[in-house]
């Protein structure tokens, strides 16, 4: 039995009914982990879905335990070229949270939950980018999947770097910096 068969992972779109089960999800004690926990367990997730059409997935194992979650959306229009343009949108990975007890699990990196969740989110981002590019302009930078990461969250930074995310200058805010990944929209590798 392969690791994937041994540790299957499922992705379902967030539903209100998940709120009850999410009460047991703890992403960790670091400030960014507490922020992720608070976001998914509070009302912020509902606000994001309503106001920004954020897509949220809940990841479960075969026993139906929640392993983590991810939230993806298109940003508002950015004025490009600055200062008066109105042509740019980016994709934005608002949150990726994993239960603290599932960090580094399973041990073999290829099958690790964090990797598989990020891969799923990149695959969804590609679909979203293609839809926007083809039917919902403006789409100048929509091939860029962006995110904000806390400067002290080194494991997350390493994870994102493994998947081709690079620093995006000029968007630093408080203790966060931005990273971007240019999506490969012409391949069907997912």
């Amino acid at each position: 039995m392969s690791e994937i068969e041994k540790y299957p992972l499922f992705a379902d779109e967030f539903a209100l009914a998940d709120q009850l089960a999410l009460a047991d999800l703890h992403c960790g004690e670091e400030p960014w982990a507490r922020a992720a926990t608070e976001w998914i367990r509070g009302t912020e997730v509902l606000d994001a879905i309503e106001r920004f059409q954020t897509s949220v997935w809940i990841f479960r194992d075969v026993e139906d335990f929640i392993i983590g979650f991810g939230a993806l959306e298109a940003t508002s229009w950015k004025k490009w070229p600055p200062p008066d343009g109105k042509k740019s949108r980016l994709l934005y990975l608002r949150h990726l949270g994993i239960g603290a007890k599932y960090r580094g699990f399973p041990p073999e990196r290829e099958y690790r939950y964090s990797n598989r969740i990020l891969e799923h989110l990149i695959a969804q981002a590609k679909k979203m980018a293609i839809t926007i590019r083809d039917s919902k302009p403006p789409s100048k930078h929509v091939e860029l999947l962006t995110l904000m990461v806390h400067r002290d969250n080194l494991p997350a930074q390493k994870l994102y770097q493994r998947y081709g995310f690079e620093l995006l200058d000029g968007f630093e805010r408080d203790d966060h910096f931005a990273m971007s990944h240019r999506l490969d929209l012409d391949s069907d590798s997912n």
């Binding site: 009302t43 950015k78 490009w80 600055p82 949150h95 200058d169 408080d174 990944h181 590798s189």
Partner: protein, 231 residues
């Protein structure tokens, strides 16, 4: 101001009708606005114009809303602000009257969480003042507000703004998180939420986006996960 009310047409019917239709929370906001000095009312009107302008950014709207919130809770007679505002009544309404019933328990849960944080803040502030032998009056002078504003925060009749917590922490030489433990979490959520909402790009950001777009696409195998029938 010399106002005459002699004819039925002198009566501001439309304005009165709108006032009657306002919710209790909205009426309280209007009441507070009317109590403000002319100069503060002028600021509120300016900020209202920002909210009405369809061309401003979400960030500008957010700032304007916060400025109004600050302004209408000023005490004109004291010349400065209460540095906190009591939203209890306005906030609690959605927990019992939100049109989508399924959201009410979640809103109530969130409010309970805020209450808990406020209680922790109150206890901690009281304890730090005691340890450092600082009176409410002295703290008020240090952060340029009134003693009654400090008192309201300690008695949980008013919730402090983040900037007030930061000022207090500096004035008391403690870390802001010693006063409000989840301040860092709130700040992280703000940072994450601000990025997608901002529309203004500066030259450096625009150049960074173009440079990122000029790079070749990332060739990485991604595996989409299956959905699962819910139990």
């Amino acid at each position: 101001m010399n106002i005459k009310l002699e004819q039925p047409s002198d009566f501001p019917l439309d304005a009165f009708r709108a006032l009657l239709q306002a919710s209790p929370g909205q009426q309280e906001i209007l009441h507070r606005y009317m109590e403000c000095s002319d100069s503060i009312q002028s600021v509120v009107r300016l900020m209202f114009a920002v909210l009405e302008n369809p061309h401003v950014t979400d960030e500008d709207r957010h700032r304007a809303t916060r400025t109004i919130a600050d302004a209408i809770y000023l005490k004109p007679e004291a010349g400065h602000g209460s540095y906190g505002f009591d939203l209890a009544k306005v906030e609690r309404e959605p927990a019992t009257k939100h049109p989508e019933e399924h959201r009410r328990p979640l809103i109530a849960q969130r409010l309970d969480q805020l209450d808990q944080q406020q209680a922790t803040f109150s206890e901690r502030l009281r304890s730090i003042l005691e340890q450092k032998n600082v009176t409410q009056e002295e703290l008020a002078v240090r952060i340029e507000c009134t003693q009654s504003a400090i008192s309201k925060m300690i008695t949980r009749n008013s919730r402090p703004h983040k900037k007030t917590i930061l000022k207090m922490a500096a004035a008391l030489s403690v870390s802001p998180t010693e006063l409000w433990p989840d301040l860092e979490v709130a700040s992280i959520l703000d940072s994450i939420a601000d990025f997608p909402a901002e529309r203004e790009l500066n030259e450096q950001q625009a150049a960074a986006l173009d440079a990122a777009l000029a790079r070749p696409p990332v060739k990485v195998v991604v595996r989409e996960l299956p959905a699962r029938a819910r139990k």
